[in-house]
Subunit: 330 residues, 2 copies
C-alpha cells in the first residue's frame, strides 16, 4: 500500500482509539490498520463475553480481534482459527464432556497460554500484550479492564426466568430467545486497564466500532470513567452503526434493541450513542434516516458500511476518519 | 481366556485391592484383570503426582491406569495415549507457552473433562468413576483421596535448596538431580476417598503394585488410616518389588532409595514395607537376597517380575495371588 493511500483527513501519526467487540470490530480494525499506521491504533476491547470453561480463561472478543488482525481468522465463521482442527473437542464429546462451545485445537492453545499466565499472576492486559506480540500485531490491544466483567442475560420468558451467562445465551442457545435485560456483573468496581484512560483522553479520534451496542460496546463504555471521558470529547468520537436496514449486520443486536425497548434502527443506535459520540457513520441503505439521526443528536455520515471483503473495510475506515476531519484532537 | 485360566489360589469372586502408582502398577493391573474378574478388582491410586498446569487438573497416575486398562496407552512411552497428536502443544510452544509437560490432544480432552467436572463440584473420585465408565473399564478405579495431596521434593543441592513440585523434579528435570527429602503436602488432613477404607478392610487380598515406594506407594499408605488398616491385616497384604538387581525397573525409585538413606535393593523395599505387608514378590535376579528379605520381616516369593508384554504380567499376577493361597481373607 502506497504512502498516498495512507494519507487521510486524520493526519498520519495521529493516534486512534477504537472501542471494539468481536467480528464487526475486527473487520473494521483490519481495514483501519491498512490505511493508518497500526502503531498509532489502540483497540480497547470488550471483556463482558469472557468466561471460564474446562478451567480455561476464554476471551472471545480479544481472540477474534487477534486472529483477524493476524490474518489467522476462519473466513467462513468470522471467529476461530483458519485451518483449525477439532481433535480435542471430538474426544471431549466422546467422554461425555461439554462440547457446545466450539474450541478448536489451535484456539485451545491460546486459552491454555492465557490461563497459565493468569495463574502465574499476569494481568489480562499483560497476557493480551504477550499474545498480540506472538501473533505479530503492530497495534496496541487492550482489554477495557483487567477486572472481571461478566455479561448476564435475563430471558424474557418465563416471567421469573433466572439470569443466565452470556455464552449460554449467545452460543448454547444461539441467541434464539427473547431477553428481558442485560447486566454487566462486576462492572461497578471494574477499573480501566492500564493505558485505556490515556488512550481515550489523548487519541486524536475515538472510533466506536460497528459492534453490538448492548453487549459489546455497553461493557466498554460502562466501565466507570469511560463514558464521562468520551462525553467530554464527544465531538471527536465517531461511531459506526452496526444496524443496517433495521437489522444487525451480524448477531442479535437488532433483536436486542427491540426486546429492550429501543427502535431497532440506526436512529435507535444514535439515541444510545449521542451522549458520548458526536458523529454516526451509517449505511447508504438507511440514508432516509439521516435527518432522524441528526435529530437524535449525532452528525450522520452516509456510506457503505458492509465489510464483506477487506477492501470495503479499508474504505469504511477511510470515510470514518475523513468524517473527523477538523474534529480530531491535536 | 478360559475359565480354567481364571482359576487361582485366590478364589474366583474374591475381591482384590491394589495400591497403585503409574506405569508399573498399570502393567500389573492389566495382567491381573486378565486372570481375575475385573469387577472384583479395586485399584487405589496415588494422587501425589497430581498438579495443575494451564488451569487444568492433571492426574497422571489415574490416567496411566485408565489408558493402560483401556488398551489406549502409548506402548512406546508407557504413558499417554496411543495414536496421540500434538497440535495444541505445538501451537502453545509457538506462543511461548510452557510445553515441558507433554500433553497430547487426546490426553488434553480428558484433562478438560476432569477440570470442568471439578469446577462443577464433582469430587475427584466421582470424575474418576465417570472417566473409567467412558473408557469401558470394568474394575473399580479410586483415587486414594479426594483431598489434595501434593508430593514435594527437596533437592540435595545446594544445601539451602527450596522445595520443588514433584512434576518439576520428575518431568521438567527428568529426575536427574539428587534429592534430600520427599514430603506429601496436605496428607495430614487428607481423608480416604469413598470406598477406599471398605476395599482395604474387606478385600480378600491387598496387593501393593510394583510402583515407586516413596512417591507412588508412599502417598497412598500415608493417608491417615491406610497404613494402620494394612498393618492389621499384613498377612493378606502382598507387595511386588519395583526394584530388580539393585535398580528400579523404571523411574527413579532406586536412586531415591539410595539418596534417602535406604539400601537400593529388594531388601530395602522389604524394610520399607514389612510393617504393613507380609509377603514380597521379588525377581529371580535377586534370588540370593531372599533370606535377607525374610530377615527384614517379609515372606519372599521369587519369580519373574519384568512385564515387557502383557502375558508376563498375567503370570506375575497369578504368582502374586497364588502366594496368598491360604492367607486371603474370606
Amino acid at each position: 500500500m502506497s504512502e498516498k493511500n495512507r494519507t487521510t483527513a486524520v493526519a498520519s501519526g495521529a493516534s486512534i482509539a477504537v472501542l471494539a467487540g468481536g467480528v464487526g470490530a475486527s473487520r473494521f480494525l483490519r481495514g483501519l490498520v491498512r490505511m493508518h499506521q497500526p502503531a498509532d491504533v489502540t483497540a480497547i476491547v470488550n471483556v463482558g463475553d469472557d468466561f471460564t470453561l474446562h478451567g480455561l480463561s476464554i476471551s472471545p472478543d480479544l481472540d477474534t480481534v487477534t486472529y483477524t488482525l493476524a490474518e489467522q481468522i476462519n473466513p467462513e465463521t468470522g471467529w476461530g482459527r483458519a485451518g483449525e482442527s477439532w481433535r480435542v473437542l471430538t474426544e471431549l464429546g466422546r467422554l461425555g464432556g461439554q462440547d457446545w462451545f466450539q474450541l478448536g485445537d489451535l484456539d485451545l492453545a491460546l486459552h491454555l497460554y492465557r490461563t497459565q499466565r493468569r495463574s502465574e499472576g499476569a494481568s489480562l492486559s499483560q497476557v493480551t500484550s504477550e499474545i498480540a506480540a506472538s501473533f505479530g500485531l503492530e497495534l496496541t490491544l487492550l482489554p477495557v479492564s483487567d477486572d472481571p466483567i461478566r455479561t448476564r442475560i435475563t430471558p424474557a420468558e418465563p416471567a421469573d426466568a433466572a439470569e443466565i451467562d452470556f455464552q449460554d445465551y449467545f452460543v448454547a442457545q444461539q441467541h434464539g430467545i427473547s431477553i428481558r435485560s442485560v447486566r454487566f456483573a462486576g462492572i461497578e468496581t471494574a477499573r480501566p486497564a492500564p493505558g485505556v484512560v490515556e488512550s481515550l483522553e489523548h487519541s486524536a479520534v475515538v472510533v466506536v466500532a460497528p459492534s453490538n451496542p448492548f453487549v459489546s460496546i455497553g461493557p466498554v463504555v460502562d466501565v466507570p470513567g469511560v463514558r464521562d471521558i468520551l462525553a467530554q470529547r464527544r465531538r471527536s468520537v465517531v461511531a459506526v452503526s452496526p444496524i443496517v436496514g433495521g437489522a444487525s449486520v451480524k448477531g442479535p443486536a437488532g433483536a436486542m434493541m427491540r426486546e429492550l425497548g429501543h427502535e431497532p434502527s440506526v436512529v435507535g443506535v444514535a439515541r444510545l450513542y449521542a451522549e458520548f459520540a458526536g458523529t454516526l457513520v451509517m449505511d447508504n441503505a438507511d440514508r432516509d434516516l439521516a435527518p432522524a439521526v441528526l435529530d437524535a443528536g449525532m452528525s450522520p455520515v452516509v456510506t457503505d458500511t458492509i465489510m464483506s471483503i477487506p477492501e470495503q473495510a479499508v474504505a469504511l475506515a477511510r470515510t470514518t476518519l475523513h468524517a473527523m476531519s477538523g474534529r480530531a484532537r491535536k
